[in-house]
Amino acid sequence: MLLALPMVLSSYLVTVFVLIFFYAYLGQAWNIVGGYAGQLSAGHAAFVGVGAYAAAVLSLSAGLTPWVGMFVGGTVAAVLGGFIGFLGFRFGLRGFYFVLLTVAFAEMCRIVANNLEWIGGAVGLYITFTGNPWQFQFQDSRAYYYIALGLMVAATAVAAAIERRRFGVYLSAIREDEGAAEAVGVPTFRYKMFAMIVSSFLTGVGGTFYAFYLFSLQPNTVFGIPLSVEIIIRPIVGGAGTLFGPIVGSFILSPLAELTRFYFAAGGGWAGVHLIVYGVLLVVVVLFFPQGAVPWLRRLLRTQA
């Protein structure tokens, strides 16, 4: 059904779906380390940013096709993620300290990117539209729809595969009680590292889509804390550590964000309304549905049946 949808949608609605899929993809990537393994990274924008910059710079300066560049970007993000994970996990940083470490790295990336003139500095990078699919550019916006959908499905397939294997069981044990997991033989450091690397790789791959969908990159947006918030809020509202949490979360939040932007931003000065909605939702979720929407829906369906 999702495959046929673009045929009947207006181009605006296609855009809304692209955002739903893409943020669900980023949320799913975050979910692996933040949801399943319970390591609250609040700096995932760093991985989007380095992935996006790697692919864009390689494309602009070396002519490398983004179809390859996206994997280079993913790899660079994975190296960064591995480094942050190594520092955080080796030194036993938990809770707020880990949150702050991840935020600090994202902010450092932002500041550095702002100051590196050869990647555009604070002005950022602009990609000229050529419409060449080989350069990840498409005349028909529906192409982006299918790519975003594909990314979301692929990340979900990865998450599903992890969930079914020892990897996933170990991650959930780590999330629930790291010490108890160690006691029954789970090498917690190694598995947290795996989770961080897989998650940052996928997020970095998403950076390519980000860059070539928007045609521009600015350090303050692509590395900014607001993007990190966009990434984590969907899986949390949908249900962190559940397979469909990020998708459900994105279907709830992305259209909501679009609608408020559409209705309020048009009047001018109302740009923050969708973020107010996010804030209220976060508070409501934490206070009343700490497990997120998916487990709640599941319980609801069970009692109905």
């Binding site: 319970g38 609250l40 609040a42 520092l87 030194f91 940083l93 938990r94 809770g95 707020f96 300290y97 949150v99 702050l100 470490l101 935020v103 600090a104 790295f105 902010e107 450092m108 500041i111 550095v112 702002n114 100051n115 604070a122 303050n220 900014g224 804390i225 607001p226 918030v229 949390i236 000065g269 109302w270 740009a271 923050g272 309304v273 973020l275 107010i276 996010y278 804030g279 209220v280 939702l281 976060l282 508070v283 979720v285 934490v286 206070l287 700490p290």
Partner: protein, 309 residues
């Protein structure tokens, strides 16, 4: 988004290369130190809230930005100078802090750390973006005659606005210390921070003390916001930057340590000021982040150890 922070921190010509001109160093240190009083006050508010409740106030910087807007409203609508208006801003934030603790934080004090972080992040988003809706995205700045004046101590330039801000911030910090060390309520706050269970056993009303601690912490950041409003152009996203800076300071100084927050505030401000002079104004935050990462890895308890408040 922190354009203002960068531009206004140090009013100096750009240095030519990395020459360690002693006057330049002294200038940067003085400038940073004077600005640091506000950082200290802001961080003390955060550390007080953390010490008593073990809750990290992610909305700290946004409360501060609201205080800045209150100072701005006071100055533009009612002609109240921010160096007087900070009292009002602190009072309003006191009430807001009390309400946030009672209505929200109190429900989740026993929840996992992650949940508390997300809740306060939600509050932060609401505060920041209501400010955006209410006041718009343009940078604002509060004018006061004091910021126009300057003093020269030999070759070193001293901004009078900064000096007054520093003096008031230090006076408030001293007043707060007196409150915490001499008054009964203040001692109860320190007792709850030191050993919450012990405080409960001897009959302390821990809920009430927690709400008051959140209120006092918010009042601190409120005063800090109003006092810095004449020095620092601000816009709603400044709150996020200030939150992150406060976190840096309290981790560097030591979570929950009052002395750590105070010294950390001065240290971070001086480090940023030096960074702005010797690296590049826009790189100054890099210095405090680098400092943060080193502290996190080498001495996570912070420079001033793990004393309760």
């Amino acid at each position: 988004m922190a354009e203002g922070l960068r531009a206004e921190q140090v009013r100096l010509p750009a240095p030519q290369g990395l020459i360690l001109d002693p006057v330049l160093v002294v200038q940067a240190v003085v400038s940073g130190l004077l600005f640091g009083g506000v950082y200290s006050l802001m961080a003390i508010g955060l550390t007080l809230i953390f010490g008593v409740m073990r809750v990290v106030n992610f909305a700290h910087g946004d409360l501060m930005v609201w205080a800045m807007y209150l100072a701005w409203l006071g100055a533009t609508r009612f002609g109240v100078d921010p160096y007087v208006g900070f009292v009002g801003a602190a009072a309003i934030l006191f009430v807001a802090g009390f309400a946030i603790q009672r209505q929200l934080v109190d429900r989740i004090v026993d929840a996992p750390h992650e949940m508390q972080i997300l809740l306060m992040l939600g509050v932060a988003l609401v505060l920041e973006n209501t400010a955006l809706v209410a006041f718009g995205p343009e940078p604002q700045r509060v004018r006061t005659p004091l910021t126009q004046a300057a003093l020269w101590l030999g070759p070193v330039f001293v901004d009078v606005g900064r000096l007054v801000t520093f003096a008031v911030a230090i006076a408030l910090t001293l007043a707060l210390s007196l409150f915490l060390y001499r008054s009964d309520i203040g001692r109860q706050m320190r007792a709850v921070a030191d050993n919450g269970y012990g405080a409960q056993v001897i009959g302390t009303d821990v809920r009430r003390i927690s709400a008051l601690a959140f209120a006092v912490g918010a009042a601190c950041v409120g005063a800090a916001g109003a006092l810095v409003a004449p020095l620092l152009p601000f816009q709603p996203p400044t709150g996020l930057q200030l939150s992150v800076t406060s976190f840096n300071i309290v981790i560097i100084g030591g979570m929950g340590s009052l002395l750590g927050a105070f010294m950390g505030g001065l240290l971070v401000s001086v480090a940023e000021s030096l960074g702005a002079v010797f690296l590049n104004p826009s790189m100054k935050e890099l210095v405090s982040f680098a400092l943060l990462v080193v502290i996190l890895l080498v001495r996570p308890a912070g420079l001033f150890g793990r004393r309760a408040i």
